[in-house]
């Protein structure tokens, strides 16, 4: 065996490895912790959830949670909600809210909820966002969320048109993620709220993938 053999040219392998690392790093999205674990029903639909969605999560007991991902939109929605329900938030609280994930507390308790750390938030006792006709907060969250997301979409679209650049944004959509054991009436209630606000007839029901039968 020749003495020079143990060294091997690894450059192509390293090239490939770093290429893949870069690819996965750029495509990966940060997963935010969800307040509830939801086991979605399965379907054969292989349509991937669009990007610009407001997500309403419904857990097994029918509690409602709301999430919209874009941080700047979140703060604008919070401002609108704060104005409508006469609750005040400091700038620090708004900043914290922007970085949060899905939440399910009434607006009156949202301040206390924001000021907790992640462990405290997970333990926070809540009955979800109220949706009864007297305090239809979920309806307002959905409504303001959709308005703000639409405004953002429009301004970005106009800007792209002005600069003659390609526009890749997606129109705002609504998605419902409910547990398979949830009574359908809770889902129906949320859909009726959305229908009443006349926002968007297409609603995405989040499911997990199942093999198509032959």
């Amino acid at each position: 065996m020749p003495s020079a053999s143990p060294s091997l040219d690894m450059t192509p392998m390293v090239d490939l490895a770093f290429l893949l690392v870069t690819f996965f790093m750029l495509t990966a999205s940060v997963r935010v912790t969800e307040p509830v674990l939801v086991d979605t029903p399965s379907s054969v639909s292989d349509k991937i959830l669009p990007n610009n969605v407001a997500l309403i999560t419904i857990d097994e007991d029918g509690r409602l949670f709301y999430n919209i991902e874009n941080p700047t939109t979140r703060v604008k929605i919070l401002d609108r909600m704060a104005g409508a329900y006469k609750v005040k938030f400091t700038d620090a609280e708004k900043k914290k809210f922007a970085g949060m994930g899905s939440f399910g507390v009434p607006i009156e308790k949202l301040r206390d909820y924001i000021n907790l750390d992640e462990v405290g938030r997970a333990k926070f006792p809540t009955a979800g966002i109220p949706s009864d006709s007297a305090h239809n907060q979920i309806g307002d969250w959905i409504f303001y969320g959709f308005i703000e997301a639409s405004i953002k979409f429009k301004t970005e679209f106009e800007k792209a048109k002005e600069n003659k650049t390609e526009f890749k944004g997606e129109k705002p959509r609504l998605a419902i993620k409910a547990d398979s054991k949830t009574d359908y009436i809770h889902v129906q209630h949320v859909i009726n709220v959305i229908k009443k606000k006349k926002l968007e007839p297409r609603i995405n029901l989040i499911t997990s993938l199942e093999e198509e039968p032959k």
Binding site: V14, P41, S45, K177, A178, Y184, I185, I191, L205, L209
Partner: protein, 217 residues
Amino acid sequence: MAEVNTGDSGGGHGKHQKKRAKKLSTRIDMTPMVDLAFLLLTFFVLTSTFNKSKTLEVLYPVDPTDTINKPPPIKEGITFLLTEDDKVFYYKGEFNLKGNAEGKPETVLTQTDYSKDGVRKILMDRNKDLRDAIAKLQEQLNKKEINDSIYKLKANEERALPKYVTVLIKTDDKASYKNVVDVIDDLRIAEIAKMAVVDITGPELALMKQSAANSKP
């Protein structure tokens, strides 16, 4: 391991030794870097792939408020009635109460289930015409007689034709979300595009309760 050979590591002064040292100097041990690269690669591969949500897009049109635009009642169709304990009933055509004015026979509910010979089979059989029509279009597409966009357009046109079956889904308070998604899913498999989830009426609810009480578990 990871040290860079700087050229005078040999410490020799002879001409022959110097030459050899220069030749070695271009090589770096890349093993730790490769280790790191693959570690990161594994991490990102494992965390990213399980993250994509799939979605079932359903159209929920806003109810027309004026009576003029109200859609006519559906005469040809299947209505599924969903209730607790994964029970599902269906009837075809219009709902007729016992002793109705037109003297039509009373509607009787038939029980079915969510297995592959249940709801799916009913829908597949009922929608055979449309599935055949779409299969024909698919064949044309495979033979390259029509292109992809024309195929999609024609298939959608075909699906919307009034002669094909319309399906209504109605639930009581206790039906689970999973069951509704199952029915919608079976509709997709059977290529039925015309469907709606609507509120149950009083007589239907009463009849379903009665049927559920008499049904097998």
